[in-house]
Subunit: 586 residues, 2 copies
Amino acid sequence: MAWDATKLKDWQIAEEAEKNMPTVEELVEKLNLEKDELIPYGRTPKVDFLKMMERLKDKPDGKYIEVTAITPTPLGEGKTTTTLGLIEGLAKRGQNVGGAVRQPSGGPTMNIKGTAAGGGNALLIPMTEFSLGLTGDINDIMNAHNLCMVALNARMQHEANYTDEELAKRGLKRLDIDPKNVEMGWVIDYAAQGLRNIIIGIGGKKDGFQMQSKFGIAVGSELMAILAVAKDLPDLRERIGKIIVAYSKTGQPVTTRDLEVDGAMTAWMRNTINPTICYSAEGQPVMVHAGPFANIAIGQSSVIADRLGLKMFDYHVTESGFAADIGFEKFWNVKARLGGLKPNVSVLVATIRALKMHGGGPQVVPGRPLPEEYTKENLELVEKGCANLLHHLNIIKKSGIVPVVCVNGFYTDTEAEINLIKKIVREAGARCAHSDHWLNGGDGALELADAVMDACKEESQFKCLYPLEMPLRERVELIAKEVYGADGVDWAPEAEAKAKRFESDPYYADFSTMMVKTHLSLSHDPTLKGVPKGWRLPIRDVLVYGGAKFLCPMAGAISLMPGTGSDPAYRRIDVDTKTGKVMGLF
Amino acid sequence: MAWDATKLKDWQIAEEAEKNMPTVEELVEKLNLEKDELIPYGRTPKVDFLKMMERLKDKPDGKYIEVTAITPTPLGEGKTTTTLGLIEGLAKRGQNVGGAVRQPSGGPTMNIKGTAAGGGNALLIPMTEFSLGLTGDINDIMNAHNLCMVALNARMQHEANYTDEELAKRGLKRLDIDPKNVEMGWVIDYAAQGLRNIIIGIGGKKDGFQMQSKFGIAVGSELMAILAVAKDLPDLRERIGKIIVAYSKTGQPVTTRDLEVDGAMTAWMRNTINPTICYSAEGQPVMVHAGPFANIAIGQSSVIADRLGLKMFDYHVTESGFAADIGFEKFWNVKARLGGLKPNVSVLVATIRALKMHGGGPQVVPGRPLPEEYTKENLELVEKGCANLLHHLNIIKKSGIVPVVCVNGFYTDTEAEINLIKKIVREAGARCAHSDHWLNGGDGALELADAVMDACKEESQFKCLYPLEMPLRERVELIAKEVYGADGVDWAPEAEAKAKRFESDPYYADFSTMMVKTHLSLSHDPTLKGVPKGWRLPIRDVLVYGGAKFLCPMAGAISLMPGTGSDPAYRRIDVDTKTGKVMGLF
C-alpha cells in the first residue's frame, strides 16, 4: 500500500500518489458539495468561500485539532508530515477528516529547507503545484504589496517635484511623508539577503524619490497576516485600507487609503480569499491557505480555511508554524481569539533528533551529515532533551486545549528511546503516541489517530493567556515569562518609547500582540537549546500592522528577510522537457 | 445587440458580456477539441499546447492576419480594440475565427494608460482576470527571473566570504563575477521609477554583496522574449540555460547555467508555455500569451499561440505592439522568421486623432482633455498627418505582406475626414476600411472584415528585410534607413565596441536584432511626429539576450522601467465586497 520512502525521493512518491488523486468531480461527490462551490484551477480547485459558508453556516462544527512542535532543529521536525499523517490515520479509522496547511514560500523551497509538503507517505500532492506558486495567492499578495510601495515612492517624487497648486490640479493634497520614518518595505518571495537594505531612487528628478528602503520576504507581508485573520471579504477590504505605510513629517500615519491604493490592492487580492484544495498522499482533502514563517510573521493557516474545514469535516486538522512558544502562542492568543475559534486538541510533534539536540547533542547544520549522536541510541541525550518537550507541553496546558504528544518516527529511533519519551510524557499527565506515517502513511499513524480521537472526548477549557485590555508591555512580560520562560523583558529605549505611545493611544487598544522571535530556541538566541534559564528577552523595536491590527515586538537580532545559503535547492531542480514534470523538489 | 459604449464604462460592458461567455465545455464543443486539451483555471482555461499541437500537426494552416498601427498618441490608437473588432466582424460573416493578444502588464494597467483589453463592444473578457494577472504567466516570469538574481547576488556574497577550498566543499567553482559588468537586473511588473537605479547589499558580510543594481518592468524580461519566440518546451528549456547574467572579471559570460539556476527557473515557467483562452465581447476565442512593450521588449503575441491559432481557426488574427516601425518590424524580422510563419495580411490601424497629431495638432497629454483640433473636423491636419500613415504602409509593403488600412472609428470622426483618408490610401494602392467596432461590435466591423477576407485572396510575398548573415551594424543601418527613415546611424563608442565584438564572435552569428526605441515617433525622439526628416539614429548601448538569442541596440534615452504618473489608474480601482467584482478598470 505505502510507497518505499527509504528508496524513493519525495517528488517520486508524489508522482505516484498523484495517479490516484481525486478529480474535482470526485471531490464534489465525496464531500457532498455543490458543483459551483469548487472553482477549478488546473488540478487544484479553489473553494468558493462565500458560497460554501453561506450554505453550511448553520451546520455544527467538527472537532478542531491543531498541530505544533517542540523547538525544532534547523531541518524542521515534520510538523506538516505529522499533520498529513494524522489526517491519513483518521481516514483509516473511517472518519470524515480534512485539514488546512500553509502555502510554502519560494524562499525555503529554493533554499536549504526545501518545500513544506511533508514527506514520505505523508506528503501533500500535487507537490509541484503546491511548491511552485499554487493558485497564485503569494503572487497576489506580492503584487498588492508592491503596488503600495510604487504608490508611496511615486507620491514622494511628485510631492517633491510639484507645488501644492500643481498637486491640487491632480486632486492630490500634500501628505508630506517623512523619508526617515517609513514603516513598509518592498517584498519578494525569496531569501534575498542582498535586498535587505537598499538605496532606491538614484538618478534624476523623474527617477523616483531617493531614499533608503528594504525588501522583506513576501510571505511576511502584513497582507499575509491580514489574509490569515480576515473573517470575510468586507473584513479583508477594510483591513487593507488601514495599513500604515509611513508617517508624515509631523508624525501622522500615512495609510494605504491616504495613498488611494487600497481598492486596487484589494483587487489584486480578490481571489486569495478562497482557499485551494490539495490532498494528502492517500487522497484526503487539505486546504492550503495563508503562509509560513511563524517567527517573523503570523505563520498560521487561515481563519477562513479553518472555518470552512470545521463545517466540511468531522475532524479538521490545522497547523501553526514552528514550535509551541512562537507558532502555537499566536494560534492561541491571536488567531483563535480573532476568529472566535475553540480548538479541542493540540498535537505536539517531537523527533528524537531534536530531543537529542536539546539534551546537549552537537550542532545540526543543514546540508551537512548528522553526527553519530543522532543516528545511534542515546537515552541520556533523549532524557535531558525532554525538558524542552515538557516546557512546550506546559504552554499548551495553559491554553486549556488538550495536548497529545506525537513522536514523529525515524528509522534510527530505538524501542528504548521511544518508550522513555512515552514514560516521561505520561508522567506529565498527557497522551503520547509514536507514529510511522513517513514510512507507512495512515497505517503508520493509527496509534496517533486513536490518541487524538480519545483526547477529543475531553472537553476543551480553551482560554486566552491575557485579555485584550492588558497594556502592551504587560502582555509582552507575560508571554516572555509564562511562555518563553524568561526572567523578564529589556526594552531598548526607542522600542519602549514606541510601546508607551501605543499604550496611551486608544486607536491601538484592541490590537493583537504578534511576537517576532527566533523559532530555534525558547529564547531570542537561536544557539540556546533545551530550556534556557536566567535570561531576559530584549525588545529592540515594535512594528505596527495597522490593517492586521497587530503590534509586533521584535526580540533579538532577527531579520524579516532570510538569506540564501551556499548550497541551495535550486541547484537540483529541473523540468523533464518531454513530460513537463518538475524533478528534484524535496 | 451591442451595448451602449457611449454611456457604459468598459468594465460595465465586460460585466454584461461575461454573462454570455462560453463555458469550457461549450468551447470544447464549438472548436471540436478533445476535453483534456483545455485545462480549466477559473473562467479562463489554458490550452495544453503539447497535446493539441500533436493532434493537429498535419492540419493545414488558416489565414494569418497581423494587426499593427501608425505612430500612436500616448493614449494608444485601439490596436487591441481593432484586433477584437476584426475577429467579431469575421465571425459575423460566418467564419471560423480566433486570435492571439498579449497579456497586459500591471505597469500600464495601474498607471495612466489602463488595461490593454480593448474597449467598447470590442473588448476582451473576462476583463478582470485578463487585467489582473490572468493565469499567472507574468508572475511566473517574474519569479523565475528574480530567482536568477537571488542566485547571482548570493553567489557573489559566498565567493567574497569563502576561500576556493570552502567553495569546493559545496561543489562550487569560483565564477569571479565582475560587479561592474552585470547584464541583468531584477524585475517587478509595475512602472516603478524609484527602482530604476539602486544600491543593494548594504549591511554586514551576510547581507548580500554590495553593488549597484537595477529593476526593469517584468514584461520586458528576457524570459518574456524567450516565451514569445520559443517553439516548444525543449526550446524554452535550452534558451533559459543560455541567458547571460553577468561577466567574469576576465570578460567571460556568466550564464544561468553557470549559476545552476536554469532548471529551477524553467520549473517556475513550466505552465507559461500553455496560452490562456479568453474571449471577445461577442464570444470568439482569443488566446492570451506573452507580453507588451514592443518599444523596450519584443512585444509580440507568441509563436506558440499563433501556431495553435493557425491550426484551430480558418482566420487567425494576431497583434504586434505599437506601430509598424517598431512592433511590426519585430514581427517581420524576428518573430515570423524564428517561428517559420508566413503572414497573409497586415491591418494598419489609424485614428483620426493620431493623424491630426502627426499633421501638426497640439500635444496629446494623458489625463488631460483633448484640444479642440481633435474634436472638430480638420481636413488639413488629417491630410498632412497621412504622411505618417503612408510611411507605415510602405514598411508593410516591404515585407511582402498584403496591407489593409483600418480607420478605427471615433464618434467625432466626420464623413469628409474618413473619405479623405480612404482616397489617400487607395491612391497608394492599398485597401482601406472604416470600422465602428467600438460602437457596434462585429456589426460595425463588416467593412473591415470584408476588406481583410478580400486581401487574403492575394498571395503573400513574405520575405525578411535582411538575411541573418548580415553583420549587426549593417542590419541596424538598414532598419534605420528603410524602416525608420533615418539618414544613418551614430554609434556611441562603447556601443560600437560592443557591436564589433559581437560581429567578430561566431557565437552571435545567428542572433536576431531586436531594436529598443520609442514608439511615439518614427525616430528615437518621442516629440518628433509625422515623418521626421534629416536625422540620424543614435545607438548608445547593445543589450545581449543570450537565451532569446537577441542583440538589442538601444536608440536614444529610453528606459527599461517606465514611471508612474501623478494621477494613476489605481486611484479609481476597487472591489465590490458583496459580489467580489472589480470596479474601475478601463
